[in-house]
């Protein structure tokens, strides 16, 4: 299995010199199994470059199938989709998966993005064959030689974590989520930090949600985790639905994951600041007897996962 990062940013794309090294494109990660199954997680602006690359490859290899797992439909996770070149190629086939939600079927939520007056090319001009699969909470299913697991996350509206298991490797994608302590998100708008303690039922729901996420990360070769917030950010904005590196480390360690990739970097975070965040996270993760490796995801990062990668690393 091979995992490549095409967009690592949250909220909105941030071009410029301050983001040159880690990259300014919004969320998009590609997972390809040894058998060639292609699963893309999230369709932020990063998916544009992946699409171009696939079209170049397709001219040689013919039409191909791509599965897209959508964590949730906030802009930074879907805004690249209209710019995904295979959509306009008659030979390609796309299957888009996302958790069921209120407020309209997935097809209309995604297709509205290209309705007039917002976009010049409407969904009926798409040439690829596109299918939409709405998932029940916690759904598990197969995509050819890969097994996909999912779990609900703690984020406004609906967000879903995924794990892709294939070739003796597991990668977990946990974005976007708040930690499972101070607030339980639903569909309502949360205007300010919570003032009162959570009712017992909410605490219980968060405990259960957290257990599912730990399960998804269990023994993972790679955990990709929303670490948009510094501790200070979280103190001010616990009601925004994002985590700190310490939250990601806690979950990854408990799940016995090998590598944690800090992900969904805040738009204001410069390359140097991400370096600093990574250094602090590594200090935090360094505990005797626990071998959790921490990296910060960047555009272009290409990670082989599986038994051969593990033995390579052991050497």
């Amino acid at each position: 299995m091979r995992v490549r990062f095409f967009g690592v940013r949250g909220s909105l794309p941030v071009p410029g010199r301050r983001t040159e090294r880690y990259g300014g494109n919004t969320s998009c990660v590609e997972v390809v199994t040894d058998g060639g199954t292609r699963i893309v997680i999230d369709a932020g602006t990063g998916i544009r470059r992946l699409g171009k690359e696939l079209m170049q490859a397709e001219r040689e290899a013919g039409g191909k199938e791509t599965h897209i797992l959508v964590s949730h439909t906030h802009w930074d996770h879907i805004q690249g989709l209209p710019f995904f070149a295979p959509l306009y190629h008659p030979g390609s086939r796309l299957v888009v998966h996302a958790q069921q939600r209120n407020g309209g079927p997935l097809r209309s939520v995604l297709n509205s993005q290209t309705d007039a007056p917002y976009f010049p090319v409407s969904a009926n001009q798409v040439k690829a064959e596109v299918a939409f699969r709405e998932l029940a909470e916690g759904a598990r299913f197969e995509i050819q030689d890969a097994r996909v697991e999912s779990a609900r996350l703690n984020h406004p509206y609906v967000a879903t974590a995924y794990a892709v298991v294939a070739d003796g490797a597991r990668v977990a994608y946990v974005s976007d989520t708040a930690p499972f302590v101070d607030i339980l998100f639903g569909e309502e708008f949360v205007a300010r930090p919570p003032e009162a303690d959570l009712p017992p039922a909410a605490r219980e729901a968060l405990r259960a949600m957290r257990a599912e996420v730990v399960g998804l990360c269990e023994g993972a070769d790679l955990v990709i985790y929303d670490t948009m917030f510094t501790p200070e950010d979280y103190r001010l904005m616990p009601h925004f639905g994002h985590s700190r590196p310490s939250d990601a480390i806690e979950i990854s360690r408990e799940a016995g994951a090998r590598t944690l990739a800090l992900y969904h970097h805040a738009p204001e975070r410069s390359d140097d600041e991400i370096d600093g965040m990574l250094a602090r996270a590594r200090e935090l993760a360094a505990r005797p007897g626990v071998a959790l490796k921490v990296i910060a995801a960047y555009e272009g990062l290409d990670l082989p996962l599986g038994p051969s990668a593990r033995s390579e690393e052991a050497r």
Partner: protein, 282 residues
């Protein structure tokens, strides 16, 4: 009048090492009128950086005022709206003008971008600033601070995009992004709007070759921009709204080529390529 570019790109933000000089943010321009009032042209992703810089002044204290002119509602012209920081500070006041028949229709278009499925804030009503929507009257002048603004609709593929002229005393600025003229070039109304502009910020999405193969997009080439500027006798032309695939080097070449064209035509015009952070005094 002083103009500063915060986003100069078309279609979609284009981060990466290849775009750091001209910038990868989508359309957003700040105009500071002679009397100090602020006019914002379009709200692409550049609006985020603009918001951050404005928060250092009166907008940070809830004492800011600005008018926002929207050319049209394609994503690259509105997608920075939810990320414009001064909207989140109570006391700030904005008037948004756009090409809708009624203020309610304009609000609905912007509102759909904020919906819960797409953005956690869920509705414009959750923004703390006071935001008033107005339908920009076509052809009819309206006042913004010390300036008089006029709007004309240009063809832009299957829709229309407004071009704005801001006349501030004896100085004039025209913003004409996303213009896909017919073969005969700008309409008489458009040329009247652009006439003798001190600065014409004009759509130059494509090279002439790329424009020829993508006519249906309804966008201009750098040569279309020069043609419009010359016919309108503009004094200065800023190329704007570059294709997302163009690197800094590509834009350098586009500018060189534009200057060459101008020389051949013996045109009296100064050409610049808009870049994030560039400030032009009109």
């Amino acid at each position: 009048m002083e103009v500063t570019f915060y986003g100069v790109r078309g279609s979609i933000a284009a981060p990466g090492p290849g775009t750091v000089r001209y910038g990868g943010n989508t359309a957003c321009v700040l105009v500071r009128l002679a009397g100090g009032e602020l006019v914002i042209l379009d709200c692409g992703t550049g609006a985020r950086n603009l918001g951050l810089s404005l928060l250092g002044g009166p907008f940070g204290k809830g004492q800011g005022r600005a008018s926002i002119l929207l050319s049209h509602a394609h994503w690259d012209h509105i997608q920075g709206f939810p990320f414009f920081g001064p909207f989140y500070t109570a006391g700030n006041r904005f008037t948004v003008y756009g090409g809708a028949n009624t203020p309610a229709l304009l609000e609905e278009v912007l509102e759909r971008q904020m919906a819960a499925q797409y953005f956690p804030v869920q509705t414009i009503k959750n923004l703390n600033a006071q935001i008033e929507m107005r339908a920009a009257p076509l052809g009819e002048p309206f006042s913004v601070g010390t300036a008089v603004v006029r709007a004309t609709a240009n063809p832009h593929g299957s829709v229309r995009a407004l071009a704005f002229r801001i006349q501030d005393g004896d100085r004039s600025l025209v913003y004409a992004s996303d213009a896909g003229y017919a073969r005969e070039g700008p309409s008489a109304e458009a040329l009247a709007l652009y006439a003798d502009a001190d600065l014409l910020i004009h759509d130059a999405t494509f090279t002439p070759e790329d424009r020829a193969s993508r006519l249906e997009r309804g966008l201009s080439s750098s040569e279309d921009a020069i043609e419009a500027a010359l016919r309108a006798r503009a004094r200065r032309l800023a190329l704007f709204h570059y294709d997302q695939d163009y690197s800094d080097r590509d834009i350098d070449l586009m500018l060189e080529r534009s200057r060459h064209t101008l020389e051949q035509r013996r045109g009296q015009l100064e050409i610049v390529a808009a870049a994030e952070g560039l400030t032009i005094t009109v």
